[in-house]
Symmetry: none
Subunit: 290 residues, 2 copies
């Protein structure tokens, strides 16, 4: 396949190249090994066969066969290649020329997202979060709403909540105005709106009307002084810095997923199970390659 496109790639990072190249012919178990190694490139050069087999659940023999299948003489050969790669990388040091410029966007956005997630974690009020989860879980029917990038968040929220058994609709602007769709709204329902800059008047109107009709209103926004906050029953303030020149909604994604999990916490065990599995992953030991 595409020699022209992959030559550089293959030369630079041999392991990844070979895995992709022979990817189709790898057995399931070998795939697990491949993924583990790629996900732990930092550690890989130091791991012995035994360690790899323990962490991936495959037998030592399978590890060797994997190395041979992707073209190395054996595991020893693979390891030597990894060591070489590591040496090269260190040797070249911070001399990253062109790749610095290209790598830069990824690094910058990543750090921005990390920052926002961290800030959100620090600032979201626990009891408010809990209250929102309660309200959404208890609602008869849930409507989500947003404009611009927030529309995607609204759709995403609807998708996630639906998967967890809630009755949800995302208010769209496809056929009729969102406000018209609110005729179906009744007391006992809830509306979850997303309001990020540039704030739109329409969102405020939807929230106002929803409230008049007796529904519980919740807004996810980026600052406590956002216009929507004073109109709703509950507001979750998420850190969304940098949204004027990029659109990373990573922090909101996190909040949304956490809400889903909290709601699913009806089946407490399930939620706790999820949390413990997350912790396992974070502990480092992805023996479970998930």
């Amino acid at each position: 396949m595409k020699k022209q496109a992959t030559t550089v790639e293959a030369a630079v990072s041999g392991l990844r190249g070979r895995i992709v190249e022979h990817g189709a012919s790898l057995s399931p178990q070998q795939r697990v090994i491949a993924d583990y190694l790629l996900a732990h490139l930092e550690e890989a050069p130091f791991l012995s066969i035994l360690e790899v087999s323990e962490r991936t659940g495959a037998s030592e023999a399978t590890v060797v066969r994997f190395a041979q299948r992707i073209g190395y003489k054996g595991y020893a050969g693979l390891k030597m290649a990894l060591v070489e790669a590591l040496r090269e990388e260190r040797g070249s040091g911070r001399r990253t020329t062109a790749s610095a410029a290209t790598q830069a966007p990824l690094a910058a956005v990543a750090r921005l997202a990390q920052h926002n997630i961290e800030a959100t974690l620090a600032s979201v009020d626990g009891s408010e979060f809990e209250a929102v989860a309660q309200q959404l879980a208890g609602a008869d029917h849930l409507f989500t709403f947003g404009l611009g990038i927030s529309a995607h968040l609204a759709d995403l929220a609807a998708y996630l909540f639906t998967e967890h058994g809630l009755r949800v609709n995302s208010l769209t602007t496809r056929y009729t105005s969102p406000r018209e769709q609110l005729v179906a709204l009744r007391p006992g329902d809830a509306v979850l709106a997303f309001s990020l800059p540039p704030y739109s008047r329409e969102t405020l109107e939807v929230l106002r009307e929803a409230r008049e009709r007796g529904a519980t209103t919740v807004v996810v926004t980026d600052r406590a002084t956002a216009p929507a906050v004073s109109l709703v029953d509950h507001a979750l303030t998420v850190s969304c810095q940098g949204m004027t020149f990029t659109s990373t909604t990573a922090a909101i994604d996190v909040v949304l997923n956490a809400l889903v999990m909290a709601i699913g916490a009806h089946h407490r065990e399930e939620a706790l199970e999820a949390i413990s599995r997350i912790n396992q992953i974070l502990e480092g030991d992805s023996s479970l390659v998930d």
Copy 2:
């Protein structure tokens, strides 16, 4: 001797500290070994006794005695220490304190997202990322595609790219099958697919067909051995651990936004400007309330 002076030093770079400490009692040969190792700290963790003895002219026994003399259990102990030091140095980006060991869903999901973003940043291949940006920017027309949660990503991608002046369509399953919509596809176009577990056959078929029609194909997936990888021109592998029991796509959100930024890098200045503003935010000056 000066415990106070050497504690930090010894703790940080054990080898150098120990050598200095026991320097007086080292034999001539051992001194050669010490000098060699210190001069080749990069290599040291990977050298076997035999290699060290060959390069220094000392016998293997002397190498072992050297390690013991400076306080290690044996050469194995010395090597382990070197490996640890190297690992530490590389993994210096480890800020995530286990402080938030909370049982709260929000904390757990946040940390998972952080982890995935970090892992993605470490593993995404720079040249591949660059290549993808090039291809997408240069495409005549762009189609995005995904099923399940990936459908949202496809829509989001279409939205983001559209905002930056590209001609994009998200292939939906709304009216006709995605493959039917490919009749409009021509050489020079590009297809950007998202393929996350559970992988669907349909996605593979779309990619296959797109390629047959001469379009450039790109897939964003969660592992290098995912079935789609072998079918496309370019693959971006993003860390998405924990997706079996939650749906945080934060890392993909980051990659997507970075791509947008890289594409906009035609207008280099604009991209650099964005990066510098991100850095300002991270520097802590949220003076600009953005």
